[in-house]
């Protein structure tokens, strides 16, 4: 599994999913960069983890929970303060075509 390498097509695919527009130079740089990250994972994969349970998170306690109470008061003006465009108390975005 050594020398994982990401193709330029994979870079473009991921960029498109993330809605990123990349120049050719960006693509080359990211291809190298992402490949290095994967190679680091390869390095980790050399460790014997057969005795370790699959772990998504570290920490013993489960997620903390809150009581079901309404703690926020309506303040649409504050919420819309940084909106680039609005219509009344609604956010305005370019029309979505389905």
């Amino acid at each position: 599994m050594a020398d994982s390498k990401i193709s330029v097509e994979q870079v473009r695919h991921v960029a498109r999913l993330a809605r990123l527009e990349l120049s050719a130079a960006d693509e080359t740089a990211l291809q190298a960069n992402l490949s290095e990250i994967l190679q680091y994972i390869d390095q980790l994969n050399r460790l014997d983890t057969s005795a370790v349970a699959p772990t998504a998170q570290v920490g013993e306690a489960g997620t903390p929970m809150r009581d079901d109470v309404i703690a926020n008061r309506p303040d649409p003006e504050a919420m819309l303060a940084n909106a680039p465009a609005r219509a009344g108390h609604l956010f305005k975005v370019p029309r979505i075509i389905e």
Partner: protein, 481 residues
Amino acid sequence: MSDNAYEAIIGLEVHTHLMTRSKLFCGCSAGFGAGPNENVCPVCMGMPGVLPVLNRHAVELAIRAGLAAHCEIAPESIFDRKSYFYPDLPKGYQISQYELPLCKGGYIELPAHSEGAEPRRIRLTRIHMEEDAGKNIHESGASLVDFNRSGVPLVEIVSEPDIRSADEAGAYLRELRSILRYIEASDGKMEEGGLRCDVNVSVRKRGAAEFGVKTEIKNLNSFRFVEKAIEHEVARQIDILEAGGRIAQETHLWDPVREVTRPMRSKEFANDYRYFPEPDLPPLRVPPDLVEAIKTAMPELPADQRARFVRELGLTAYEAAVLTQDRDLGAYFETMLAAGLKNHRTAANWVMTEVLRVVNEAARPLADAAPLAIESGELLKLVETGAISLNAAKTAFAAMCKSGKGADATVAELGLAQVSDEGAIAAACDQVIAAEAAKVAEYRGGRDKLFGFFVGQVMKAMGGKGNPKVVNEILKRKLSG
């Protein structure tokens, strides 16, 4: 028709709101009816640097739903990020559960509508928790976004492909809604988006072992649309196969105006959600004693109530199924019986005809449209004791719906009480016999059929209020004598 050579394989994914006061990960109100973007905060708006904190009550309601559907409750489940871009999803991902959902397996049992029929079990794959998105309003030139629903707790209930027809899908949805209402996890109001459904449909030659290629129909928001969309999609797929074609694996949208499904414009990478564990939420740990406590506090479920109505009250399977479609209806029926009614099936039929009629006509909830259940019970009690006729009870009921008055007061006010007094009835009979001497002679000469005529005359003489049973008895005695 070649349709019978095929069978449909249907699985449903149902999304329903959980009835919490606040949202899933923040303290905003989850209620309906607020002005645009009033119930929002930095957490449910996806502002940088915020952290979600899980609503305990939402977890409890999801566990309740899981237990009601006979699921296994995972002692540890995790939340994942489901990534896609859409303006109503401010974080760019939805917090959902993917690999390790809260509830696994389970089943929904569909009521048997005929005697002796085996109830059908539709197996579940899973029930998981997730947050709702906001709402887009499309205008010419722009789309407007309201985030009030963003972060409202949902469960998604995923069935195995065990459903075989549009009717069965409808029965499954009705039973599921009924269960969710009984356990007060969801009000199941489709019109407010409280219950939404995606449908997976494929067809195969009857007896074939392998499934055909399936299509998905998205975002159906009424039971009727689900049934119609399935009927249409099954017919469409059979037509394609019969013509030698192949089914494309694609997502369809239901067009409720033209009543057809049409393929969604395929969005590139539409299904590349790149799920990964939500780093902001440690695993959800559910202690066994919490599950036990929820189990202990669980109300009676529709299936149990149905079985009890049949076993203890002597209702038919069909009557029991109708009365348990809705928690309020079942409760109404039981409260009526508390008036001391002996004839349970008369009470059941009263609910199914008179009460359901006014509810449907008024298009309002039972509690608003119908008189108090105990007053309905008192009214039927008057029928049982012979104080009024069943027809008079119906007249009184209609008046009670409008006036809100009780049974006794209404019967007295409208003068509906039956005359059972033997003296009064005997006098009316004597009067009729004296006036109809010729017919009496014919009757006594053997024309038995005339009996009905005499009953009619006596009732007429008594203004329709004679107790038919007593009238019959006295009349028979006098005519034969």
